[in-house]
Symmetry: C2
């Protein structure tokens, strides 16, 4: 199933004790719908406040609901900030995370004070003067296969910091800056640290070319701040054969 | 002061016992800032769930805060879904409602299922097939001075139903339909009933020209449904000399 959610009121995707999470809502809806405990696997574990418009989840059920009807059925049991967009049958060994070949995320920055009340949960509201051309130039340094240790939250348990960024483009439209980034996989907080670093470039703290040195440093302290979660959106997950 | 707010979590603007309202939040912030009970007058009393980007409020204070500094001062005491955009000194007899010469509202309709999780509190999410050209044509019948009793919530205590609509235009952009309407004043629920009636025209329930007959009927039952509150925005209030 492809699902979308407004992450504003949730402690992230993954189920955890005593916390309001997307996965818990989905599993509760499945219990109400099917009368069974059905566990979910997902393409990505989004953090507190992070949104999705193309999260992919998989379930295993013997129930006689036709594959394409699961969306409407589950939506009738879900809160209005979580919606199933589509559903289809997959092979029994499909795994939404391990079988993903590519993920696309967006990070939205909103650059004016007016109407901030409507954007505060959906973008990084930041009205500082930013050099957008420098930020766009800096994006190019992220593309390719690099050791992204400088762009991974400190304390992450990961062993291999190498990731291949296929595309990293900053779009500028009116009061919005929208970073779109595609990779086979990302490190923990990687996109938020990339965005924080781009904003440092925009502020003029260092030139765009400094990004090359920040990557080479393999040190989280070399990079910029971690941008706030509410600007981040999981847009799309691709699988082989698509 | 010109203020904006996300009305999603409020029982409307006006203060009332045991309800979370915009006015109560503003008066509480003023109490915290000034140590005094300061009462507020406002240009319009928006309903539960209705938003504003250009509400105008006035207060009377002897405090030595310079007029243009009130915004920043109050914002430090207000929740993030209410913001003061600007503040200026006015004459002692200024009244934001009685002195208003013109108000502009918008009503936003969102026409697709995708990304509805983000729009559910900010637009009428309605993916029915609608004849937009017929709706645009119907808008013209609202312009001018008419008795708008058919477009006033039943039970309203008002005596005079005559209002002059200066402008009523439906903008169509991608998945959005945005009605912008300007008048010196509006009846209770007038814009939401106009929007509900436009949607009936869009559905083909009656032709655009029927609006003329609905106005002439002077009967609430002749018009369409009351559109839901979350699509309505108080955009701007004008005063003479502006």
């Amino acid at each position: 199933m492809v699902i979308e959610y407004d992450g504003s009121l949730y402690h992230g995707f993954q189920i955890q004790a005593n916390a309001h999470t997307i996965q818990a809502e989905l599993e509760e809806a499945l219990l109400r719908l099917t009368g069974e405990r059905v566990s979910i696997t997902a393409a990505g574990r989004t953090d507190t406040g992070v949104h999705a418009v193309g999260q992919v989840i998989a379930i295993n059920s013997e129930l006689g609901i036709p594959p394409e009807k699961w969306g409407a059925a589950l939506n009738s049991c879900l809160p209005p900030d979580i919606r199933v967009l589509s559903s289809e049958e997959v092979s029994a060994d499909f795994h939404p995370r391990f079988d993903a070949v590519r993920k696309k995320y967006a990070y939205l920055l909103y650059r004016q004070r007016q109407r901030e009340v409507f954007l505060r949960n959906y973008a990084w509201c930041n009205d500082e003067k930013l050099d957008i051309e420098a930020m766009k130039a800096a994006c190019n340094y992220f593309v390719g296969t690099h050791n992204f240790k400088s762009f991974c939250a400190a304390g992450s348990a990961v062993k291999n910091y190498e990731r291949r960024v296929e595309s990293c483009v900053l779009h500028h439209q009116g009061p919005y800056l929208n970073l779109e980034i595609i990779a086979a996989g990302f490190l923990y907080n990687m996109i938020r640290i990339i965005m924080g670093t781009l904003v440092e470039v925009g502020r003029g703290r260092y030139p765009a070319a400094q990004v090359e040195k920040i990557i080479a440093a393999q040190d989280r302290k070399a990079a910029g701040v971690t941008a706030p979660p509410q600007g981040l959106y999981l847009l799309q997950v691709d699988y082989s054969g698509e």
